[in-house]
Symmetry: C2
Subunit: 270 residues, 2 copies
């Protein structure tokens, strides 16, 4: 039977930082079960914090905190030390380093990470842009895009567009279908912004089969025929060559990894 470990995450904001770290850490323990349902966002009162810490102690849990308030963080630290509670403060070790370096102290305002500032609104409008110009819906948008993704069906164009939009890029994408002529406006797009996505045909056939399964459709179509897919990929490679698109092979890569390669390509151009 797998061992279980209970995690309490406590934050005076939403607690997103703890969850991100937790995802990275738990991935390193395939043989352990992490029970991370004990999430306490928006904790701002000492009494409330103390109650949660007492419950954590009863549960023999590991406590992770992202509390910007120094008083709350100190309470959690002292309680944990006094009671032998396993405890990790993600923020204050960093705050201490910054104080040593610069003499500056944190403003201790929870949740400012989600400030509704210009950067935030740019991100929102980049996401709206990606949704609007997904799937070649309005090729006019190619001219305003930072990145135009090209690829045959199931090469992750949509999730990749959204992921890059989350990083603030204006992204559009165009599915390449041999039977459908390319929009003329593609001639006018800055070649440096064109990214061609390819995938190994066998892998693509598998992904497409899964796709049909999830839609409840049968498999006997050219959509999943490996020979047909070879033709499609060849066609797409010819398009990439013609338009001098930067080609990325996304087989077995996560969206995050493919996005990283695209960002590196763009940086290399500056």
């Amino acid at each position: 039977m797998k061992k279980e470990i209970i995690i309490y995450t406590i934050s005076d904001s939403l607690g997103g930082t703890s969850r991100k770290l937790l995802a990275a850490v738990t991935a390193q323990y395939p043989d352990l079960i992490f029970d991370n349902r004990h999430r306490f966002p928006f904790v701002t009162k000492k009494e409330e914090l103390l109650e949660i810490l007492q419950d954590a102690l009863k549960d023999n849990a590991v406590v992770i905190t992202t509390l910007v308030d120094d008083g709350l963080a100190r309470l959690a630290r002292e309680f944990s030390q006094a009671n032998g509670l396993a405890y990790l403060d993600l923020l204050h070790p960093f705050f201490e380093i910054i104080e040593q370096k610069t003499g500056e102290r944190p403003i201790e305002v929870p949740g400012v990470i989600h400030r509704l500032d210009t950067e935030y609104f740019n991100k929102i409008s980049a996401i709206e842009f990606a949704v609007k110009y997904d799937d070649g819906k309005n090729p006019q948008g190619f001219l305003d895009s930072d990145i135009v993704l090209l690829g045959v069906s199931r090469t992750s164009k949509t999730p990749l567009s959204i992921y890059l939009a989350n990083k603030g890029y204006k992204v559009s994408n165009l599915p390449l279908i041999p039977e459908i002529p390319l929009p003329q406006i593609l001639d006018k797009v800055d070649r440096k912004r064109l990214i061609g996505l390819i995938c190994e045909p066998d892998k693509l056939a598998k992904v497409r089969n899964n796709r049909l399964d999830s839609l409840g459709l049968s498999h006997s179509s050219s959509y999943t025929d490996v020979n047909k897919i070879y033709e499609e990929i060849e066609y797409s490679e010819a398009v990439f060559k013609k338009y001098q698109a930067h080609v990325i092979n996304m087989t077995d890569k996560s969206i995050e990894e493919t996005a990283y390669l695209i960002e590196e390509h763009l940086k290399g151009l500056n």
Copy 2:
């Protein structure tokens, strides 16, 4: 003049955890400039790591590492201690707590957080779902949705749909426009899944004005007329009442905060 602090992030994977923490920390220091352009993902060799650490020392930087490999992490720690380099290891304090609790050691495989597993593919298909059923494009999708967002123009329906899709929910949304009849299928949607978004009219007028600016359009339209917006909001509130939608006021809330309230509402129903 603002003080500057140089941050080096070193990871044997993409380094997303460091960046998330860094965003939370830097938000606490509005008077400091953080130079976080020094990002070193996919570092897996000791020589490479040592070079980066030496550069960090020259730059008087703060080093943040997410290195799952114990040998690399130890090298970074020992180098930093020996040379007085400010250094923060995000993973190993957590690894140590887990070892104390369970005796288990991490598998030390970089990047497993981006495993292409079922959860990952569910997330991808939720994002595709949200893009497909954005803006009431295909109301048939309402029946398959975990969440259907309703609201007048500029109540953050699209970015909210995408954010919730990132958490694995299947989300569709419908813009409410007094002049356009509601799709009949709305009658068949489980009321518990309906979320109505409202916003203070003055705030909405401001957001819409910004929207027109960004599109390069003039402002003399009913779209930004506060009286007209009052009518729209009233209409939307009547719709929410009729369909018993759960109403959330998103004025001055970030997407993350609004999404949190929606998730809490859904949890409360289980």
